[in-house]
């Protein structure tokens, strides 16, 4: 569905992504994990059209995304939940959702939008309660739910999430990941980028590990969860635990 070949992104003379390749098949939940500055976000910016200059090849459903503007990529079927939520704070929760459905309204699919309202509001009942509140007054977790709901309103065939757990309480993080899993089970294809590697790999089908702009590991999520390098570097076991653990 999404295929990235030898993607290189740079900011001026600094290269953030050195030739990364990956693929997402229909119905899969793919996690990309890596530390801060590994190039995860740059990769997503290139996919959703916010980064202008990249080389290599990105194709979605066999059409190249080169030169496409972010709105036309949304129309093509990729929606992104941006890092840091980026909701429209002075607009009401309902209006935020309407903005998510902008492309749907423009395609004159009003009936479908009404259906989608019901769908996302039953998925996130708290948003129904807060429907007329300004989005800026929501808590961080609620804002994250709103950002996901807004992205879903465009009926994406591929949903891209950038660090959905960032800055949220652990309980809320669990809930967000449960939601992502539910979405996958409903047939949405998902590309998830996370620093919270354990949670991201637990729900994923396959995973990729990015390190300083290079793809260092890939495999099924189960394999990565037990991989020693991944454990050491991303699953929060310090060297002590790690070596002691190996001794047993």
């Amino acid at each position: 569905m999404l295929r990235i070949k030898n993607l290189k992104c740079s900011y001026g003379s600094i290269t953030a992504v050195h030739g990364v390749s990956l693929s997402v098949k229909k119905g899969e939940l793919i996690s990309i994990i890596g530390a801060n500055g590994a190039g995860k976000s740059s990769l997503l910016l290139a996919v959703c059209g916010l980064m202008k200059t990249w080389s290599g090849e990105i194709s979605f459903e066999d059409n190249s995304l080169r030169g496409m503007s972010p709105p036309s990529i949304v129309r093509a079927g990729i929606s992104m939940v941006p890092e840091g939520r980026q909701i429209f704070s002075p607009l009401s929760v309902m209006d935020n959702l309407k903005m998510g459905a902008y492309t749907m309204y423009r395609k004159r699919m009003k009936a479908e939008v009404e259906k989608d309202f019901k769908m996302v509001l039953s998925m996130f009942p708290i948003l129904r309660e807060r429907a007329d509140q300004l989005a800026g007054t929501l808590s961080g977790g609620e804002q994250q739910m709103l950002a996901i709901a807004r992205a879903l309103m465009a009926r994406p065939r591929l949903l891209v999430l950038d660090e959905p757990s960032m800055g949220l309480a652990p309980k809320i993080v669990d809930m967000i990941f449960e939601t992502i899993e539910t979405l996958r089970n409903q047939g949405v294809t998902i590309l998830l980028v996370e620093q919270n590697a354990r949670a991201a790999l637990k729900i994923a089908d396959r995973g990729y590990v990015l390190e300083t702009g290079k793809m260092v590991l890939q495999g099924s999520a189960d394999e990565l969860l037990v991989d020693d390098d991944v454990k050491r570097a991303y699953l929060g076991q310090d060297y002590g635990d790690f070596y002691d653990g190996r001794g047993n």
Partner: protein, 291 residues
């Protein structure tokens, strides 16, 4: 007493015109973060278009008004497309200077098109002026105030209730997120320009019957509108509107009660005071709020 009421009437009338200019400026600022120093020239275009369409070509009044508005909007579109968008990546100060250049260009073009002589335009309707408490209220004033309220109400409705209006607010609030939601922000910017310069033209249409219109009338009106927008809090629709009325009334009272030489100075004294005491504007919320 009678005098003061008379000053109030004329103050509210000019205030309503400043309000319309300020609303246009403020709306453009909220959606593109650009101060358009050519805004006053669109007021001139509106007024001079009335001279051509209504006085010279003798078109029916509604048609002349529509044509003048359409001219203002179209020029705004062309301005955005050929002057602003081509320099889009530049930093804001470059864009502001482009608007200053556009202002000089429009004034020059206006001079070539309409000459240097001032023109007068008759009132929209030929009713007698109404006497209230001994002061005369001109029918044109009623037209202007009603028109200004209608216009601001219309923009308010557009921004709060329509999908396109909300999308425009969304672009202003967070352009990146708007893009990622599939909102074509470039088209929204064009639309904001057209509406804003259309407001300018409407102010010109209103003002034409109560003053002499000439190619160089725009500069001072644009600056007054800017003062009004700053007084109300740049980026707030009703703040700009109230700022315009307040400025008009203070100007009229100051000119009448103190000295007529003070008329233009008042706007700038007020602007300096506002910038010194409340830089966010009188009606700005604590956090900079848009619309």
């Amino acid at each position: 007493m009678q005098e003061i009421i008379q000053y109030l009437f004329s103050g509210i009338t000019t205030g309503a015109i400043y309000a319309v200019i300020a609303v246009g400026l403020s709306m453009l600022y909220s959606s593109t973060e650009l101060i358009n120093f050519a805004h006053g020239e669109f007021v001139m275009v509106g007024a001079m278009a009335m001279v051509t369409f209504w006085v010279h070509l003798a078109w029916p009044l509604p048609l002349a008004i529509l044509a003048a508005m359409a001219l203002g909007c179209t020029l705004g579109l062309l301005f955005e497309r050929f002057a602003i968008r081509t320099a889009k990546a530049s930093n804001p100060i470059v864009l502001v200077i482009i608007t200053v250049g556009a202002s000089i260009f429009l004034r020059g073009t206006g001079m070539l098109a309409w000459g240097k002589d001032p023109f007068s335009v008759p009132s929209f309707s030929s009713h007698e002026s109404i006497e209230i408490l001994g002061a005369a209220l001109l029918p044109q004033s009623i037209w202007i105030v009603l028109g200004a309220i209608g216009l601001a109400g219309g923009i308010h409705f557009f921004l709060k209730k329509t999908l396109t209006g909300k999308a425009m607010v969304a672009c202003a609030v967070n352009q990146k997120a708007a893009w990622l939601s599939g909102i074509p922000s470039e088209r929204m910017a064009v639309l904001a320009f057209a509406i804003s310069t259309g407001c300018g033209a409407i102010a010109g249409i209103f003002i034409a019957p109560i003053t002499m219109s000439s190619y160089d009338m725009g500069t001072i009106l644009g600056l007054k509108g800017f003062c009004a927008a700053m007084i109300g809090g740049l980026g707030s629709l009703w703040g700009a509107f109230a700022g315009g009325i307040l400025l008009g009334v203070l100007e009229s009272l100051g000119a009448g009660l103190i000295s007529s030489g003070l008329k233009d100075a008042i706007a700038f004294i007020l602007l300096l005071l506002i910038l010194y005491i409340r830089p966010g504007g009188l009606f700005a919320a604590k956090e900079a709020k848009r619309f």
